[in-house]
């Protein structure tokens, strides 16, 4: 759920003309230094000029040939290093022929100095190949880091959004104003019931504020909150709503993230019971299922018959599940044959 589409191949990103100029300029300077070094150690008794010309011819040819090899073989191919070395050897040969041309010298092929040059060419060619490999590896790592950053930021963004929606869900205006309207009515007609409703509403608001602000909390806390929520509706809807919550003490003591179950119960009321003339029943059960905690919200309401649209607050539940548990939590929503909706949340414990 957290993964993004595969990132576009990023390793080709900076093979623009600038890169080519810098690369060849670098190689040319390196070659000149090699030529200088060879003169200093007295290689072949040649002049500095000759050595530099030979070095440039050999080095630039090898560099070009290795590029060709890298362009036409795939990464991970075992032929690649072999072909690169072969390119270095061939580059050494061609470079010397070119060097002969430019200096009008006639260095004999297979002579001692030739073999030495070839060896030096191979040596630096090998280093060049390793350089190419390292460069590719570096690009890979960079791309990977970037992809990981994108993933992390995306997950963070979703987490914050979900948090925000959770806070908004908690003060759903319809719920609040309708409940206040009931309170206003009951204060005159049935003060006892009014004080009961006030007490339950108070319990619900207090619990949801505490739940969303404090880290941690248990399933018992969440179920207490839901009981207050359902009791508010029980008072408001009268005989149209019936509810039950069943969870044993060991399950109630399990840690449980806030407001993960609340949207499912809210859906049961809002889309299941409230739109149904005859009302119905909401049942919440918590049970261990192997290593998982299984929570079921079952209602006998209108079912999934109406188009659910895109909201229902379920996206929010799903986003928070993914942020908290990754792939190990599941949410299943179904309309059983006998009607209503059954939402089943499975969390790792």
């Amino acid at each position: 759920m957290n993964d993004l589409p595969p990132a576009p191949a990023p390793w080709r990103r900076d093979q623009g003309p600038r890169m080519w100029i810098f690369l060849y300029l670098g190689v040319a300077i390196g070659n000149a230094l090699i030529g200088l070094l060879l003169t200093v150690v007295g290689f072949g008794g040649s002049s500095l000029g000759r050595n530099v010309i030979y070095s440039e011819c050999i080095g630039l040819t090898i560099c070009t040939l290795i590029h060709v090899v890298f362009a036409f073989t795939k990464r991970g191919n075992w032929l690649r290093p072999l072909l690169s070395l072969a390119a270095a050897a061939l580059g050494g040969l061609i470079g010397q022929v070119l060097g002969n041309r430019f200096t009008h010298a006639s260095l004999h092929l297979l002579s001692g100095p030739f073999l030495k040059s070839e060896f030096i060419g191979l040596f630096f060619g090998g280093i060049g190949t390793i350089g190419f490999f390292l460069r590719e590896r570096y690009w890979d790592l960079e791309a990977e880091l970037k992809a990981r950053d994108v993933l992390r930021l995306e997950a963070e963004k979703r987490g914050v959004e979900a948090q925000l929606k959770m806070l908004q869900a908690q003060i759903e205006p319809h719920f609040l104003f309708n409940t206040l309207a009931n309170l206003a009515g009951l204060i005159e007609s049935n003060p006892k019931l009014a004080s009961h409703l006030l007490e339950v509403l108070n319990r619900y608001l207090r619990a949801s504020l505490l739940r969303t602000r404090a880290e941690g909390g248990t399933l018992g806390d969440e179920l207490d909150l839901l009981e207050a929520y359902l009791e508010v509706f029980k008072i408001r809807l009268g005989p149209r709503l019936d509810y039950s919550i069943s969870a044993a003490a060991p399950e109630r003591a399990l840690p449980f993230p806030p407001m993960l179950l609340q949207p499912l119960v809210e859906n049961a009321i809002r889309h299941g019971i409230e739109p149904q003339v005859a009302g119905g029943r909401v049942r919440i059960t918590a049970a261990r299922d192997g290593g998982a905690l299984r929570l079921t919200v079952r209602d006998t309401g209108r079912g999934l018959s109406e188009a659910p649209g895109s909201g229902l607050g379920l996206d929010n539940v799903r986003a928070r599940m993914a942020a908290l548990f990754g792939d190990s939590a599941t949410l299943e929503i179904a309309q059983p044959a006998e009607g209503g909706v059954q939402a089943c949340l499975r969390l790792p414990t």
Binding site: M1, D3, L4, P5, P6, P8, A9, R12, P173, H174, F177, N178, L180, A181, N182, L183, A184, G185, L186, E188, S189, N190, L193, I235, R236, L237, G238, R240, E274, P275, Q276, V277, G303, L304, E306, A307, P308, G309, S310, G311, L312, L314, D315, R318, L331, E332, I333, A334, Q335, P336, A337
Partner: protein, 249 residues
Amino acid sequence: MSTALLADDEPHLVTHLAQRLAGLWPELEIVATTGNGLEALERIQALRPDMAFLDIRMPGLSGLEVAARLTVPCRLVFVTAYDQFAVQAFEREAVDYLLKPVTDERLGRTVARLRGSEAAPLPEALLAGLRDLIRAAPAAPGPLRWIKAQAGQTIRLVGVDEICYFQASEKYTTVVTRDAELLIRTPIKELAEQLDPAQFWQIHRSTLVNVRQIAAARPDAMGRLALQLKHRPETLPVSRTFAHLFRQM
């Protein structure tokens, strides 16, 4: 003497409104109270009260739907806890409405207005406005996020993130998730229009794939592109028309 009907699915609210109206307007006779829209419509048609106080969110029919279906003249007052769009529409059309919890002052003003007016059929402009409101209400903003699919006797609600791909067959579309295959009747073409195009790509006339479920795109032995998925063993062929989606950037 004036007559009124009260409709709200929350019984205490009906009782309370009746009591307050009795205090503010003793001559008003409440001829019926009801908790759902269907009954409200039926009673208004049968009893022809001068006015009706209708809750907007009611089972059976909403208050707006009742109003749109009425064929007898009746002054309407909508009662709502929080329906921003409806309230805006009412302000425009000058229909009376009350926000819950209803204050005495506001109810008093409504009563004063009702006392001085005659029941008349709803003007056509208002009816048109109401119908727009009813149509607009359930419209789902944004792309489809949930798919309803039949699995035996039960109907499952599947989040689109869970779906690996959709595959069209002769009559049905198969919804393939990590561990299940479900059937729906919506054709691929319609799905492609409703789903988020950034998440679901059409890769074949009969296949829509969830981009987040793609592991790799490889050419097969015939040189045709095939997709490997993260959580499914099978590969999906990409037709030439859609191969451009996977060209290297």
